[in-house]
Protein backbone atom coordinates (compact mmCIF):
# COMPACT_ATOMS: atom_id res chain seq x y z
CA UNK A 1 0.00 0.00 0.00
CA UNK A 2 2.87 2.35 0.82
CA UNK A 3 6.25 1.93 -0.79
CA UNK A 4 9.14 4.35 -0.20
CA UNK A 5 12.39 3.87 -2.07
CA UNK A 6 15.64 5.63 -1.28
CA UNK A 7 13.83 8.65 0.07
CA UNK A 8 16.08 11.65 0.70
CA UNK A 9 15.23 15.12 1.93
CA UNK A 10 17.80 17.76 2.66
CA UNK A 11 17.35 21.24 4.14
CA UNK A 12 20.41 23.20 3.10
CA UNK A 13 23.37 21.14 4.28
CA UNK A 14 21.28 19.16 6.76
CA UNK A 15 19.99 15.76 5.67
CA UNK A 16 16.73 15.13 7.51
CA UNK A 17 15.87 11.90 5.73
CA UNK A 18 18.71 9.82 4.34
CA UNK A 19 17.96 7.01 1.86
CA UNK A 20 14.94 5.62 3.64
CA UNK A 21 13.14 2.62 2.14
CA UNK A 22 10.20 0.68 3.52
CA UNK A 23 6.95 -0.96 2.58
CA UNK A 24 3.63 -1.15 4.33
CA UNK A 25 1.13 -3.82 3.30
CA UNK A 26 -2.60 -3.33 2.79
CA UNK A 27 -4.58 -3.31 6.04
CA UNK A 28 -1.44 -3.22 8.17
CA UNK A 29 -0.81 -0.95 11.16
CA UNK A 30 2.75 0.32 10.83
CA UNK A 31 4.43 2.33 13.58
CA UNK A 32 7.25 4.65 12.62
CA UNK A 33 9.39 5.32 15.67
CA UNK A 34 12.35 7.55 16.39
CA UNK A 35 13.69 10.23 18.75
CA UNK A 36 12.84 13.90 18.24
CA UNK A 37 14.35 15.25 15.06
CA UNK A 38 15.02 11.79 13.65
CA UNK A 39 13.05 12.50 10.49
CA UNK A 40 9.61 11.06 11.27
CA UNK A 41 7.55 14.12 10.50
CA UNK A 42 9.62 14.99 7.44
CA UNK A 43 8.94 11.49 6.13
CA UNK A 44 5.21 11.82 6.77
CA UNK A 45 5.18 15.18 5.03
CA UNK A 46 6.76 13.63 1.98
CA UNK A 47 4.40 10.65 2.03
CA UNK A 48 1.44 13.01 2.19
CA UNK A 49 2.55 15.25 -0.73
CA UNK A 50 3.16 18.33 1.44
CA UNK A 51 6.90 18.24 0.97
CA UNK A 52 8.74 17.27 -2.18
CA UNK A 53 11.50 14.71 -1.68
CA UNK A 54 14.99 15.78 -2.74
CA UNK A 55 15.29 12.36 -4.35
CA UNK A 56 13.70 8.92 -4.18
CA UNK A 57 10.28 7.59 -5.07
CA UNK A 58 7.06 7.06 -3.16
CA UNK A 59 4.11 4.97 -4.21
CA UNK A 60 0.76 5.07 -2.44
CA UNK A 61 -1.82 2.53 -3.52
CA UNK A 62 0.22 2.01 -6.68
CA UNK A 63 0.25 5.71 -7.55
CA UNK A 64 3.35 7.83 -7.82
CA UNK A 65 3.13 10.62 -5.26
CA UNK A 66 5.13 13.05 -7.36
CA UNK A 67 3.18 12.58 -10.58
CA UNK A 68 -0.36 12.04 -9.29
CA UNK A 69 -0.69 14.34 -6.34
CA UNK A 70 -4.41 14.98 -6.48
CA UNK A 71 -5.31 11.31 -6.95
CA UNK A 72 -2.98 10.35 -4.12
CA UNK A 73 -4.54 12.95 -1.85
CA UNK A 74 -7.98 11.43 -2.25
CA UNK A 75 -6.65 8.13 -0.96
CA UNK A 76 -5.29 9.07 2.43
CA UNK A 77 -6.43 10.80 5.58
CA UNK A 78 -4.01 12.50 7.93
CA UNK A 79 -3.98 13.57 11.54
CA UNK A 80 -1.16 16.04 11.99
CA UNK A 81 1.15 16.33 14.93
CA UNK A 82 -0.45 19.59 15.96
CA UNK A 83 -4.16 20.27 15.74
CA UNK A 84 -5.65 21.33 12.43
CA UNK A 85 -9.26 22.01 13.33
CA UNK A 86 -11.06 25.31 12.99
CA UNK A 87 -11.98 26.23 16.55
CA UNK A 88 -14.66 28.69 15.47
CA UNK A 89 -16.59 26.01 13.63
CA UNK A 90 -18.61 23.24 15.27
CA UNK A 91 -17.65 19.58 15.15
CA UNK A 92 -20.19 18.97 12.44
CA UNK A 93 -19.08 21.97 10.39
CA UNK A 94 -15.48 20.81 10.54
CA UNK A 95 -16.61 17.45 9.17
CA UNK A 96 -18.77 19.15 6.54
CA UNK A 97 -15.87 21.33 5.40
CA UNK A 98 -13.62 18.32 5.09
CA UNK A 99 -16.28 16.35 3.20
CA UNK A 100 -16.69 19.10 0.64
CA UNK A 101 -12.94 19.44 0.14
CA UNK A 102 -12.73 15.69 -0.48
CA UNK A 103 -15.73 15.59 -2.83
CA UNK A 104 -17.83 13.31 -0.62
CA UNK A 105 -21.40 13.48 -1.99
CA UNK A 106 -23.92 15.24 0.22
CA UNK A 107 -25.97 12.23 1.39
CA UNK A 108 -22.95 10.08 2.11
CA UNK A 109 -21.29 13.01 3.90
CA UNK A 110 -24.17 13.25 6.32
CA UNK A 111 -24.35 9.54 6.90
CA UNK A 112 -20.61 9.13 7.45
CA UNK A 113 -20.43 12.18 9.70
CA UNK A 114 -23.14 10.79 11.96
CA UNK A 115 -21.64 7.31 11.94
CA UNK A 116 -18.13 8.53 12.75
CA UNK A 117 -19.11 11.12 15.35
CA UNK A 118 -21.10 8.43 17.11
CA UNK A 119 -18.25 5.96 16.97
CA UNK A 120 -15.80 8.51 18.35
CA UNK A 121 -18.33 9.53 21.01
CA UNK A 122 -18.75 13.11 19.85
CA UNK A 123 -22.28 12.99 18.49
CA UNK A 124 -23.83 14.71 21.53
CA UNK A 125 -21.43 17.62 21.09
CA UNK A 126 -21.79 17.88 17.32
CA UNK A 127 -23.08 21.46 17.37
CA UNK A 128 -20.56 22.85 19.84
CA UNK A 129 -17.69 24.99 18.69
CA UNK A 130 -14.48 22.99 18.65
CA UNK A 131 -12.61 25.54 20.76
CA UNK A 132 -14.71 24.37 23.70
CA UNK A 133 -13.49 20.78 23.34
CA UNK A 134 -10.88 19.07 25.53
CA UNK A 135 -7.59 17.92 24.01
CA UNK A 136 -8.81 14.33 23.82
CA UNK A 137 -12.05 15.31 22.11
CA UNK A 138 -10.22 17.40 19.54
CA UNK A 139 -7.95 14.49 18.77
CA UNK A 140 -10.91 12.15 18.35
CA UNK A 141 -12.62 14.62 16.07
CA UNK A 142 -9.52 14.92 13.93
CA UNK A 143 -9.29 11.18 13.57
CA UNK A 144 -12.99 10.89 12.80
CA UNK A 145 -12.50 13.57 10.17
CA UNK A 146 -9.55 11.71 8.71
CA UNK A 147 -11.81 8.71 8.11
CA UNK A 148 -14.68 10.71 6.59
CA UNK A 149 -13.73 10.26 2.95
CA UNK A 150 -13.07 6.52 3.45
CA UNK A 151 -9.34 6.76 2.81
CA UNK A 152 -7.30 3.69 2.07
CA UNK A 153 -4.48 4.90 4.30
CA UNK A 154 -4.59 6.89 7.51
CA UNK A 155 -1.51 8.77 8.69
CA UNK A 156 -1.34 9.56 12.39
CA UNK A 157 1.55 11.78 13.50
CA UNK A 158 1.88 11.44 17.27
CA UNK A 159 -1.88 11.37 17.78
CA UNK A 160 -1.71 10.68 21.51
CA UNK A 161 0.72 13.46 22.43
CA UNK A 162 -0.50 15.20 25.59
CA UNK A 163 -3.47 12.91 26.20
CA UNK A 164 -4.24 11.14 29.46
CA UNK A 165 -4.05 7.31 29.57
CA UNK A 166 -7.84 6.97 29.33
CA UNK A 167 -8.05 9.03 26.16
CA UNK A 168 -5.05 7.24 24.69
CA UNK A 169 -6.54 3.83 25.26
CA UNK A 170 -9.86 4.85 23.86
CA UNK A 171 -8.25 6.44 20.84
CA UNK A 172 -6.29 3.35 19.94
CA UNK A 173 -9.24 1.04 20.37
CA UNK A 174 -11.20 3.27 17.98
CA UNK A 175 -8.38 3.26 15.48
CA UNK A 176 -8.05 -0.53 15.66
CA UNK A 177 -11.78 -0.89 15.22
CA UNK A 178 -11.86 1.21 12.08
CA UNK A 179 -8.70 -0.48 10.82
CA UNK A 180 -10.54 -3.79 11.02
CA UNK A 181 -14.01 -2.79 9.83
CA UNK A 182 -12.90 -0.55 6.98
CA UNK A 183 -9.62 -2.29 6.16
CA UNK A 184 -7.71 0.96 6.40
CA UNK A 185 -3.93 0.84 6.37
CA UNK A 186 -2.58 2.87 9.29
CA UNK A 187 0.82 4.59 9.38
CA UNK A 188 1.52 6.12 12.77
CA UNK A 189 4.28 7.71 14.79
CA UNK A 190 4.42 7.85 18.56
CA UNK A 191 6.84 8.29 21.43
CA UNK A 192 4.98 5.79 23.60
CA UNK A 193 6.65 2.48 22.94
CA UNK A 194 4.03 0.47 24.81
CA UNK A 195 1.42 1.84 22.39
CA UNK A 196 3.44 0.86 19.37
CA UNK A 197 4.03 -2.59 20.84
CA UNK A 198 0.33 -3.10 21.47
CA UNK A 199 -1.18 -1.55 18.37
CA UNK A 200 1.26 -2.03 15.52
CA UNK A 201 1.67 -5.09 13.33
CA UNK A 202 5.11 -3.92 12.32
CA UNK A 203 7.42 -1.09 13.35
CA UNK A 204 10.27 0.79 11.74
CA UNK A 205 12.82 2.70 13.79
CA UNK A 206 14.47 5.78 12.30
CA UNK A 207 17.40 7.71 13.73
CA UNK A 208 19.44 10.53 12.20
CA UNK A 209 17.37 10.14 9.03
CA UNK A 210 18.22 6.47 8.57
CA UNK A 211 16.15 3.36 9.27
CA UNK A 212 17.97 1.33 11.92
CA UNK A 213 15.47 -1.50 12.43
CA UNK A 214 12.34 -2.85 10.83
CA UNK A 215 10.02 -5.76 11.62
CA UNK A 216 7.36 -7.00 14.01
CA UNK A 217 7.79 -5.71 17.58
CA UNK A 218 8.38 -9.32 18.63
CA UNK A 219 11.14 -9.88 16.10
CA UNK A 220 12.91 -6.65 17.02
CA UNK A 221 12.83 -7.44 20.72
CA UNK A 222 14.12 -10.96 20.11
CA UNK A 223 16.92 -9.90 17.81
CA UNK A 224 18.21 -7.50 20.48
CA UNK A 225 17.51 -9.83 23.39
CA UNK A 226 15.44 -7.33 25.37
CA UNK A 227 12.09 -7.55 27.15
CA UNK A 228 10.31 -4.42 26.01
CA UNK A 229 10.15 -2.34 22.87
CA UNK A 230 11.30 0.63 24.90
CA UNK A 231 14.56 -1.13 25.78
CA UNK A 232 14.95 -2.10 22.14
CA UNK A 233 14.38 1.53 21.14
CA UNK A 234 16.98 2.84 23.58
CA UNK A 235 19.46 0.21 22.51
CA UNK A 236 18.98 1.18 18.87
CA UNK A 237 19.02 4.93 19.24
CA UNK A 238 21.22 5.46 22.30
CA UNK A 239 20.23 7.45 25.36
CA UNK A 240 21.58 10.87 24.40
CA UNK A 241 18.89 13.57 24.49
CA UNK A 242 18.07 15.28 21.20
CA UNK A 243 17.66 18.97 20.86
CA UNK A 244 15.07 20.42 18.62
CA UNK A 245 15.00 24.15 18.21
CA UNK A 246 11.64 25.77 18.78
CA UNK A 247 10.24 26.97 15.49
CA UNK A 248 8.19 30.09 15.06
CA UNK A 249 5.02 28.01 15.25
CA UNK A 250 5.91 26.88 18.75
CA UNK A 251 6.67 30.42 19.79
CA UNK A 252 3.36 31.69 18.52
CA UNK A 253 1.51 28.84 20.18
CA UNK A 254 3.10 29.86 23.42
CA UNK A 255 2.05 33.42 22.81
CA UNK A 256 -1.50 32.29 22.10
CA UNK A 257 -1.58 30.31 25.32
CA UNK A 258 -0.48 33.36 27.30
CA UNK A 259 -3.12 35.40 25.56
CA UNK A 260 -5.78 32.83 26.44
CA UNK A 261 -4.77 32.90 30.05
CA UNK A 262 -4.80 36.69 30.10
CA UNK A 263 -8.39 36.74 28.93
CA UNK A 264 -9.63 34.49 31.72
Amino acid sequence: MIRAQNLVRTFGSFTAVDHVSFEVARGEIFAFLGPNGAGKTTTIKMLTTILRPTSGEIELDGLNVRAERTEVRKRFGIVFQDPSLDGDLTARENMEFHGVLYHVPHGLRRQRTEELLKRFELWERRDDQVKKFSGGMKRRLEIARGFLHTPKILFLDEPTLGLDPQSRNQLWSHVKQVNQTEKVTVFLTTHYMDEADRVADRVGVIDHGKIVAQGTPQAIKESLGVESLEDAFLKLTGSAIRNESAGSADQLRQFARMWDRGKR
Binding site: D82, S84, D88, F97, H103, L252
Partner: protein
Protein backbone atom coordinates in the same frame (compact mmCIF):
# COMPACT_ATOMS: atom_id res chain seq x y z
CA UNK B 1 -16.87 25.65 -7.37
CA UNK B 2 -18.09 23.92 -4.23
CA UNK B 3 -14.64 24.47 -2.79
CA UNK B 4 -14.86 28.20 -3.37
CA UNK B 5 -18.30 28.16 -1.76
CA UNK B 6 -17.29 26.26 1.38
CA UNK B 7 -14.31 28.55 1.96
CA UNK B 8 -16.45 31.58 1.44
CA UNK B 9 -18.99 30.15 3.88
CA UNK B 10 -16.29 29.56 6.46
CA UNK B 11 -15.17 33.19 6.32
CA UNK B 12 -18.75 34.36 6.74
CA UNK B 13 -19.43 32.05 9.67
CA UNK B 14 -16.27 33.07 11.42
CA UNK B 15 -17.14 36.72 11.00
CA UNK B 16 -20.68 36.41 12.30
CA UNK B 17 -19.51 34.39 15.29
CA UNK B 18 -16.73 36.71 16.34
CA UNK B 19 -18.62 39.40 18.27
CA UNK B 20 -15.48 41.19 19.39
CA UNK B 21 -14.15 41.47 15.86
CA UNK B 22 -17.50 42.80 14.74
CA UNK B 23 -17.54 45.47 17.42
CA UNK B 24 -13.93 46.52 16.89
CA UNK B 25 -14.37 46.65 13.13
CA UNK B 26 -17.18 49.15 13.47
CA UNK B 27 -15.96 50.88 16.60
CA UNK B 28 -12.53 51.86 15.28
CA UNK B 29 -13.71 53.71 12.17
CA UNK B 30 -16.45 55.32 14.23
CA UNK B 31 -13.85 56.73 16.60
CA UNK B 32 -11.92 58.17 13.65
CA UNK B 33 -15.08 59.58 12.16
CA UNK B 34 -16.38 61.20 15.31
CA UNK B 35 -13.11 62.39 16.86
CA UNK B 36 -11.43 63.66 13.69
CA UNK B 37 -14.63 64.54 11.86
CA UNK B 38 -15.84 66.86 14.53
CA UNK B 39 -12.39 67.71 15.91
CA UNK B 40 -10.82 68.90 12.66
CA UNK B 41 -14.10 70.14 11.22
CA UNK B 42 -13.71 73.81 12.20
CA UNK B 43 -10.14 74.01 10.84
CA UNK B 44 -11.19 72.43 7.58
CA UNK B 45 -14.10 74.84 7.30
CA UNK B 46 -11.87 77.85 7.93
CA UNK B 47 -9.46 76.64 5.25
CA UNK B 48 -12.32 76.97 2.86
CA UNK B 49 -12.80 73.31 2.06
CA UNK B 50 -16.35 72.93 3.30
CA UNK B 51 -17.75 70.29 5.61
CA UNK B 52 -15.03 67.93 6.87
CA UNK B 53 -17.41 65.16 7.92
CA UNK B 54 -18.78 65.05 4.38
CA UNK B 55 -15.27 64.92 3.04
CA UNK B 56 -13.88 62.23 5.30
CA UNK B 57 -16.87 59.84 5.42
CA UNK B 58 -15.87 58.07 2.17
CA UNK B 59 -12.32 57.94 3.56
CA UNK B 60 -13.44 56.21 6.72
CA UNK B 61 -15.55 53.75 4.74
CA UNK B 62 -12.52 53.03 2.55
CA UNK B 63 -10.36 52.57 5.61
CA UNK B 64 -12.81 50.05 7.05
CA UNK B 65 -12.81 48.03 3.85
CA UNK B 66 -8.99 48.23 3.64
CA UNK B 67 -8.39 46.91 7.15
CA UNK B 68 -11.03 44.21 6.98
CA UNK B 69 -9.94 42.85 3.61
CA UNK B 70 -6.21 42.95 4.21
CA UNK B 71 -6.59 41.28 7.60
CA UNK B 72 -8.70 38.53 6.16
CA UNK B 73 -5.79 37.65 3.90
CA UNK B 74 -3.22 38.00 6.65
CA UNK B 75 -5.52 35.68 8.67
CA UNK B 76 -3.70 32.97 6.74
CA UNK B 77 -1.00 33.46 9.34
CA UNK B 78 -3.42 32.28 12.02
CA UNK B 79 -4.57 29.37 9.91
CA UNK B 80 -0.93 28.46 9.52
CA UNK B 81 -0.13 28.73 13.21
CA UNK B 82 -3.23 26.92 14.38
CA UNK B 83 -2.86 24.22 11.79
CA UNK B 84 -6.00 24.64 9.73
CA UNK B 85 -3.97 25.63 6.69
CA UNK B 86 -2.58 22.10 6.52
CA UNK B 87 -6.06 20.64 6.44
CA UNK B 88 -6.79 22.82 3.41
CA UNK B 89 -3.50 22.25 1.64
CA UNK B 90 -3.49 18.42 1.70
CA UNK B 91 -7.02 18.27 0.31
CA UNK B 92 -7.37 16.97 -3.25
CA UNK B 93 -8.45 20.35 -4.63
CA UNK B 94 -6.58 22.99 -6.62
CA UNK B 95 -5.01 25.64 -4.45
CA UNK B 96 -6.44 28.32 -6.68
CA UNK B 97 -9.95 27.33 -5.58
CA UNK B 98 -8.94 27.65 -1.95
CA UNK B 99 -7.31 31.01 -2.49
CA UNK B 100 -10.22 32.44 -4.50
CA UNK B 101 -12.82 31.21 -1.99
CA UNK B 102 -10.91 32.67 0.88
CA UNK B 103 -10.32 36.00 -0.84
CA UNK B 104 -13.97 36.29 -1.88
CA UNK B 105 -15.15 35.50 1.64
CA UNK B 106 -12.75 38.05 3.09
CA UNK B 107 -13.76 40.66 0.52
CA UNK B 108 -17.43 40.11 1.24
CA UNK B 109 -16.92 40.48 4.98
CA UNK B 110 -15.02 43.70 4.28
CA UNK B 111 -17.83 45.09 2.14
CA UNK B 112 -20.41 44.27 4.81
CA UNK B 113 -18.30 46.11 7.36
CA UNK B 114 -17.95 49.03 4.98
CA UNK B 115 -21.73 49.19 4.63
CA UNK B 116 -22.21 49.10 8.39
CA UNK B 117 -19.75 51.97 8.79
CA UNK B 118 -21.56 53.84 6.02
CA UNK B 119 -24.67 53.64 8.18
CA UNK B 120 -22.70 55.05 11.11
CA UNK B 121 -21.53 57.90 8.85
CA UNK B 122 -25.10 58.69 7.84
CA UNK B 123 -26.18 58.61 11.47
CA UNK B 124 -23.37 61.06 12.26
CA UNK B 125 -24.65 63.50 9.63
CA UNK B 126 -23.05 62.42 6.37
CA UNK B 127 -25.33 63.23 3.44
CA UNK B 128 -24.26 62.13 -0.06
CA UNK B 129 -24.92 64.79 -2.68
CA UNK B 130 -25.85 62.12 -5.21
CA UNK B 131 -27.83 59.31 -3.62
CA UNK B 132 -27.89 57.70 -7.04
CA UNK B 133 -24.12 57.28 -6.74
CA UNK B 134 -24.57 54.84 -3.88
CA UNK B 135 -24.67 51.83 -6.22
CA UNK B 136 -21.45 53.00 -7.87
CA UNK B 137 -19.90 53.59 -4.46
CA UNK B 138 -20.66 49.96 -3.68
CA UNK B 139 -18.77 48.96 -6.82
CA UNK B 140 -15.77 50.92 -5.55
CA UNK B 141 -16.04 49.26 -2.15
CA UNK B 142 -16.06 45.84 -3.76
CA UNK B 143 -13.02 46.73 -5.84
CA UNK B 144 -11.11 48.01 -2.81
CA UNK B 145 -12.02 44.82 -0.95
CA UNK B 146 -10.80 42.56 -3.77
CA UNK B 147 -7.55 44.50 -4.24
CA UNK B 148 -6.60 44.29 -0.58
CA UNK B 149 -7.92 40.79 0.08
CA UNK B 150 -5.60 39.66 -2.72
CA UNK B 151 -2.72 41.71 -1.31
CA UNK B 152 -3.47 40.21 2.11
CA UNK B 153 -3.23 36.67 0.72
CA UNK B 154 0.06 37.51 -0.97
CA UNK B 155 1.44 38.81 2.33
CA UNK B 156 -0.17 36.11 4.48
CA UNK B 157 1.38 33.40 2.33
CA UNK B 158 4.82 34.72 3.19
CA UNK B 159 4.38 35.58 6.85
CA UNK B 160 5.79 33.15 9.37
CA UNK B 161 5.17 34.83 12.71
CA UNK B 162 3.73 37.73 14.65
CA UNK B 163 6.77 39.97 14.28
CA UNK B 164 6.24 39.97 10.56
CA UNK B 165 2.66 40.98 11.12
CA UNK B 166 3.73 44.02 13.15
CA UNK B 167 6.11 45.07 10.40
CA UNK B 168 3.42 44.81 7.76
CA UNK B 169 1.01 46.74 9.93
CA UNK B 170 3.41 49.61 10.56
CA UNK B 171 5.14 49.89 7.22
CA UNK B 172 2.45 48.84 4.79
CA UNK B 173 -1.11 48.98 6.07
CA UNK B 174 -0.89 52.25 7.97
CA UNK B 175 0.94 54.09 5.16
CA UNK B 176 -1.63 52.81 2.67
CA UNK B 177 -4.30 54.32 4.86
CA UNK B 178 -2.61 57.64 5.61
CA UNK B 179 -1.43 58.22 2.06
CA UNK B 180 -4.81 57.45 0.55
CA UNK B 181 -6.23 60.89 1.11
CA UNK B 182 -8.82 59.42 3.44
CA UNK B 183 -8.20 62.25 5.87
CA UNK B 184 -6.91 65.11 3.70
CA UNK B 185 -7.43 66.39 0.14
CA UNK B 186 -4.85 65.22 -2.42
CA UNK B 187 -4.62 68.62 -4.09
CA UNK B 188 -1.50 70.72 -3.67
CA UNK B 189 0.63 68.19 -1.79
CA UNK B 190 4.46 68.27 -1.88
CA UNK B 191 5.76 66.33 -4.90
CA UNK B 192 7.15 63.39 -2.93
CA UNK B 193 3.90 62.87 -1.05
CA UNK B 194 1.88 63.34 -4.18
CA UNK B 195 3.96 60.66 -5.88
CA UNK B 196 3.36 58.23 -3.04
CA UNK B 197 -0.36 58.83 -3.00
CA UNK B 198 -0.54 58.22 -6.73
CA UNK B 199 0.76 54.65 -6.28
CA UNK B 200 -1.62 53.91 -3.43
CA UNK B 201 -4.58 51.86 -4.74
CA UNK B 202 -6.73 52.97 -1.83
CA UNK B 203 -6.36 56.60 -2.96
CA UNK B 204 -8.17 55.68 -6.18
CA UNK B 205 -10.86 53.78 -4.30
CA UNK B 206 -11.63 56.63 -1.96
CA UNK B 207 -11.39 59.20 -4.73
CA UNK B 208 -13.84 57.10 -6.71
CA UNK B 209 -16.31 57.02 -3.84
CA UNK B 210 -16.01 60.76 -3.32
CA UNK B 211 -16.56 61.34 -6.97
CA UNK B 212 -19.79 59.33 -7.17
CA UNK B 213 -21.16 60.38 -3.79
CA UNK B 214 -20.04 64.00 -3.51
CA UNK B 215 -19.05 65.00 -7.01
CA UNK B 216 -15.50 65.96 -5.99
CA UNK B 217 -12.58 64.13 -7.51
CA UNK B 218 -8.83 64.28 -7.89
CA UNK B 219 -8.03 61.58 -10.44
CA UNK B 220 -11.42 61.30 -12.13
CA UNK B 221 -13.85 58.41 -11.64
CA UNK B 222 -12.94 56.63 -14.88
CA UNK B 223 -9.24 56.59 -13.96
CA UNK B 224 -10.13 55.37 -10.48
CA UNK B 225 -12.12 52.48 -11.89
CA UNK B 226 -9.39 51.55 -14.35
CA UNK B 227 -6.54 51.67 -11.84
CA UNK B 228 -8.44 49.66 -9.22
CA UNK B 229 -9.46 46.97 -11.69
CA UNK B 230 -5.91 46.72 -12.97
CA UNK B 231 -4.43 46.60 -9.48
CA UNK B 232 -6.98 43.95 -8.48
CA UNK B 233 -6.13 41.74 -11.44
CA UNK B 234 -2.38 42.03 -10.86
CA UNK B 235 -2.63 41.41 -7.13
CA UNK B 236 -4.89 38.39 -7.59
CA UNK B 237 -2.25 36.83 -9.83
CA UNK B 238 0.50 37.66 -7.34
CA UNK B 239 -1.60 36.36 -4.44
CA UNK B 240 -2.36 33.12 -6.28
CA UNK B 241 1.32 32.71 -7.10
CA UNK B 242 2.51 33.09 -3.51
CA UNK B 243 -0.34 30.96 -2.22
CA UNK B 244 0.62 28.17 -4.58
CA UNK B 245 4.15 28.23 -3.20
CA UNK B 246 3.31 27.83 0.49
CA UNK B 247 5.17 24.99 2.15
CA UNK B 248 4.31 23.80 5.62
Amino acid sequence: MKVVYILWLREMKRYVRSRVQLMVSIGQPSVYLLALGFGLGPVFQRAGNGNYLQFMAPGVIGMTVLFASIFSGIGLLWDRQFGFLKEMLVAPVPRLGIMVGRALGGAMVAVIQGLLVALVCIAAGFRPVHWAGAALALVFMILIAVVFAALGVAIGSNLQDMQGFQLIMTFLVMPIFFLSGALFPLQGLPTALSLLTSIDPLAYGIDGMRSVLLGITHFGAATDLLVLTGAGAVLLVIGAYFFSRIEI
